[in-house]
């Protein structure tokens, strides 16, 4: 074999070895370094509240038919409308409806729906992940750690307390009509549609008919 040919083969072999040894990444991927503590839950949640929540509210199923489905065919209700996180017996739902305020309590409104069933509409003691997971506006896969993911729940609850609850408290009186969209949770091992407590994400109080 001639020397130039031999060197040519050697260079090609060396290049193959070098190329296979390299891990080539896109610059934007390389720059996307995960920095815990770099996340602003307040800014993220504001974006969720302003951009994603309105669309979700528009698509919410009607509360009376959802509760009936939960009673008669819970499997279908969980499958079609329920959301759950990881390994859990708790399902979260979003629903909208209207009813007449029957009474105003310290932490809830008692609302009579058109089919004469009652629900609680929360105005106090609003905690946990019901809004985050019931609305389906936030994915766990977008977060570096559970702390950031959980802080979104805290901020969403804060939005409800600061932007929705004052509207209710100012206008709510027995006999008034309330249109609402909100989230609630149900344990699949203990389906009790008679004790539903809805955390509102949108609400309008008006004079009753």
């Amino acid at each position: 074999m001639k020397k130039p040919v031999k060197y040519g083969f050697a260079i090609i072999a060396a290049l193959i070895v070098i190329i296979l040894s390299l891990d080539i990444q896109k610059l934007d991927k390389h720059n996307a370094v995960e920095v815990p503590g770099d996340f602003s839950a307040a800014a993220y949640t504001r974006e969720v509240w302003n951009s994603r929540m309105p669309k979700t509210i528009e698509e919410a199923p009607e509360i009376i038919s959802l509760l009936k489905m939960l009673e008669k065919n819970p499997g279908k209700a969980f499958n079609d409308f329920g959301r759950k996180l990881g390994i859990s017996a708790t399902y979260y739902f979003l629903a909208s409806g209207e009813g007449i305020i029957q009474s105003v309590e310290e932490e809830n409104l008692i609302v009579l729906l058109k089919d004469y069933s009652k629900i609680k509409l929360a105005t106090g003691f609003i905690f946990g992940n019901t809004v985050r997971d019931g609305s389906g506006t936030v994915s766990i896969d977008d977060f570096v750690n559970m702390t950031d993911f959980n802080n979104v729940s805290v901020e969403l609850n804060k939005m409800v307390k600061e932007e929705i609850v004052p509207v209710i408290k100012e206008a709510a009186q027995p006999g008034k009509k309330v249109n609402f969209t909100g989230t609630f949770e149900i344990n699949e091992k203990n389906i009790d549609t008679g004790s539903i407590r809805i955390i509102p994400v949108s609400v309008k109080v008006s004079d009753g008919e």
Binding site: M1, K6, F9, A10, A13, I16, V17, L20, S21, E34, P36, L85, G86, I87, S88, A89, T90, F125, F127, G128, N129, I140, D141, F143, V144, N145, M146, T147, F149, N150, N151, S153, V154, N157
Partner: protein
């Protein structure tokens, strides 16, 4: 002839070099899973480790448990060994949410998937998935119960777990996301006892001497809750100070039934460990579409429901 030999020699050398670059060497030896655990000096983690190893063996793997002794250097050594010894998957309980990320990434680069159990690492994609107790949600429930039991007022102490562990802060943050809204509930002391019963007992003794008017203590795990209860009992304050824990350990659940502990939150280490082994097996068989984190629901245990969760005698 010489030319032919040169070409054969060249091809052999190139093949050997290329084979050396290939991480996925064919290996017909029995598959192995490594169970790397932060510490075996705590019965809770022993259950986690043994349940994971047992499930892996049931699934047909050789399983070995490595104890990191809460030491990140030891944990890194275990990863070195596991990578060198050609394990197929790692079932992992990390020592540190940030410090352990590099170990998991090294395993990933070596083609070994890691499945985190119970404790989290701060990464979206280093581990194949992470099965974690939903500590925050559990402590939101506990916080709500705490507020009701305290009638929204009083002085309390918080005893934290390991400060480098995300679970410590997810529990604390979940609790405070509720309790801090009630201005008449005042935290008079907050200290870390590293999830250790004896440390918590000594700490509670000291805190009670400095703060005689304490109504409750929230502890980041049941071992610390039982330690705090011992100190409270010795000080003759068992009827005044309510103790709240987390884990659902047997002695704490019995403590709830006997009125020693006000409430705890039950975790499911066996479920987490077994599911991690099953997911690792699925990964080895080709499945890849795992969620980055899989929270596992926890349950609030109070005197109202403790009879459903009493441990066998």
């Amino acid at each position: 002839m010489i030319k032919g030999k040169n070409i054969i020699l060249f091809l052999v050398v190139t093949f050997v070099l290329l084979a050396g670059c290939n991480e996925n060497n064919v290996d017909n030896s029995p598959k192995k899973m490594a169970v790397i655990i932060s510490t075996l000096n705590n019965p809770w983690f022993v259950v986690l480790a043994e349940s994971a190893a047992e499930k892996a063996r049931e699934l047909g793997y050789e399983a070995t448990i490595f104890d990191s002794q809460n030491n990140s250097a030891k944990e890194a050594e275990h990863f070195d060994n596991v990578i060198a010894m050609g394990y197929s998957a790692i079932l992992f309980n990390p020592t540190d949410a940030d410090g352990s990320v590099l170990n998991v990434k090294r395993a990933k680069e070596a083609g070994i998937p890691t499945f985190c159990m119970d404790r989290e690492i701060n990464s979206r994609d280093a581990a194949a998935t992470q099965l974690l107790s939903d500590n925050f949600s559990g402590c939101v429930k506990l916080g709500q119960y705490f507020v009701r039991q305290m009638n929204k007022k009083g002085n309390y102490v918080e005893i934290l777990g390991l400060v480098g562990d995300n679970n410590t802060w997810n529990r604390s943050n979940g609790f405070h996301s509720v309790v801090d809204e009630f201005t008449e509930l005042k935290m008079v002391a907050q200290q870390s006892a590293d999830f250790d019963r004896n440390k918590a007992m000594d700490m509670m003794e000291t805190i009670m001497q400095a703060n005689p008017d304490i109504d409750a203590v929230f502890c980041g795990n049941d071992a610390m809750a039982m330690g705090a209860y011992q100190a409270i009992l010795a000080a003759g304050k068992k009827d005044k100070i309510k103790v709240f824990g987390f884990d659902g350990a047997d002695d704490a659940v019995r403590g709830v039934a006997e009125g020693k502990i006000a409430a705890t939150v039950m975790q499911f280490p066996v479920l987490m460990a077994q599911t991690s082994a099953e997911l690792a097996d699925q990964y080895i068989r080709g499945k890849r579409d795992f969620s980055s984190k899989t929270p596992v629901e926890v349950i609030l245990i109070t005197p109202e429901n403790v009879d459903q969760f009493m441990p066998e005698k």
